[in-house]
């Protein structure tokens, strides 16, 4: 099953490449080749970044919010009034063409994150370049008080069977990293798809967890009107024994599935969705998501972005 998913992820960005090669025969079309219009409406696709980076010197303010899960039904209005909500406020700035840096702060674990996104290659209209390629990196700092770290037992050794009695707190244990390679394609005026591979590392995890996780990601949008789209993303933390520190996974992170609607205007994009993960930072989702979308582990969430050009 996993192999089939991986194969699908690898093939999807190349949909339409054969047709693309036919179109590039005309020399004039090659000469005028430019990046495709609006491959995405926003730099966010629910929980994942996209290849879309606004023009240079654009400031973006983003609000990402996830309510509690729907499991308690109407008693907490399907999670809308549940205490387990999460929110991230972020600012991104486009320093140079196709390169953006950002900072954000998240309620869960009081993460401070610093991120950068670089669209290395853009898909072009005449299909001279059939896909866009984007690199994304996030460094996060767990901002909780030291008491949280002191009160827990961690696997901070490369030897999972080492005694854990000599635990001592170090600031570096708050750090985590996430890096991602995204390949996307605007398949048609209505349909855009992207697939990605990621690597997550936490300096400190609980005894039953892994420090490292490789993930696969799939996302897309289908426009049903000039401003509105159906959007989805699916993130899979892969079970790879060779990089795991566990003989058996006790609580392996769950897949994150989300399905939503997007409405965009000149300076705003609004996405509302039903999704699995309670975390907002990608490394948190890849290592700590325990919500199961097959067992009422779904929550309403939204993403709002606002752009200012300077």
């Amino acid at each position: 099953m996993k192999k089939a998913i991986l194969l699908l992820l690898m093939l999807i960005p190349f949909c339409g490449v054969v047709r693309a090669q036919e179109e590039t025969v005309e020399p004039e079309a090659v000469q005028k080749d430019r990046p495709v219009r609006s491959p995405w409406e926003s730099g966010y696709l629910i929980d994942n970044p996209t290849s879309l980076i606004p023009v240079k010197n654009t400031l973006e303010f983003v609000i990402q919010h996830k309510f509690g899960t729907v499991e308690n039904g109407r008693s907490d209005l399907w999670g809308l009034y549940a205490p387990g909500s999460n929110i991230r406020l972020g600012l991104n700035y486009v320093l140079m063409t196709n390169f953006q840096v950002g900072w954000g702060i998240t309620k869960k674990n009081m993460y401070n994150d610093f991120n950068a996104r670089w669209t290395v290659v853009q898909q072009t209209r005449a299909n001279r370049v059939p896909v866009s390629v984007t690199l994304y990196g996030v460094m996060a700092i767990d901002g909780r008080s030291q008491a949280y770290f002191d009160g827990m037992r961690y696997n901070h050794s490369s030897d999972p069977y080492s005694p854990l009695a000599t635990y001592s707190y170090r600031a570096g244990q708050r750090f985590s990293w996430f890096s991602q390679l995204i390949v996307g394609r605007k398949v048609s005026e209505r349909l855009s798809l992207q697939a990605a591979a990621s690597f997550t590392h936490y300096n400190l995890v609980e005894r039953t967890g892994d420090h490292d996780k490789i993930g696969a990601h799939l996302g897309g949008r289908f426009k049903f009107s000039p401003q509105s789209s159906v959007i989805f993303n699916y993130d899979i933390p892969l079970k790879i024994k060779s990089i795991s520190e566990q003989r058996e996974w006790v609580d392996h992170p769950r897949d994150n599935l989300a399905l939503g609607l997007e409405v965009s205007t000149s300076t705003h994009a609004f996405q509302i969705y039903l999704g699995t993960a309670d975390g907002i930072l990608p490394q948190d989702q890849m290592l700590f998501n325990q919500n199961d979308w097959t067992d009422k582990g779904l929550a309403v969430g939204f993403v709002i972005t606002r752009l200012w050009n300077f």
Binding site: R37, V55, N57, T58, E189, P226, Q227, T265, S266, N309
Partner: protein, 138 residues
């Protein structure tokens, strides 16, 4: 009797004020004539009559223009009511009689409540696509 007169006066005053408030709030001013630089007046549309750009223009119109100018360019978009100046009716013959260069300047350089769109729509072809779409609104 005096009390009855007072009541009539107050009722008339109340309804008069209410009626006046409707007139005042809906009385948007018409935009003053545009002072367009000569270079824009003389600007030629390099994509004039290019029908294949119209779908792209329609998409960009929906994203950037529709909220004020409305679906059909009548100036009746959801944001239009909060503007002090009416966004104009693009179906009117006087509007459509303008050159493409004049429409380009008004659309993307802007003034006052009409924002500048040069950074939001950085590509010239996309701007002309919108101009071509505006031409279909007549």
């Amino acid at each position: 009797m005096k009390g009855k007169n007072l009541l009539v006066m107050m009722t008339l005053f109340f309804f008069g004020a209410a009626a006046l408030s409707f007139v005042v709030s809906q009385d948007q001013k018409k935009g003053a004539p545009w002072n367009v630089p000569a270079e824009y007046k003389a600007m030629k549309n390099p994509h004039a009559g290019q029908a294949d750009l119209v779908p792209a223009g329609k998409m960009l119109w929906a994203k950037h223009c529709k909220s004020c100018h409305g679906n059909l360019g009548l100036g009746d978009g959801p944001k239009a009511a909060s503007l002090q100046t009416h966004p104009g009716n693009f179906k009117e013959a006087a509007f459509q009689a303008q050159t493409d260069g004049l429409i380009y300047y008004q659309s993307f350089i802007g003034r006052d409540e009409m924002p500048n769109f040069e950074k939001k729509i950085p590509e010239a072809e996309d701007r002309w696509a919108i101009v071509n779409y505006i031409r279909t609104l007549k």
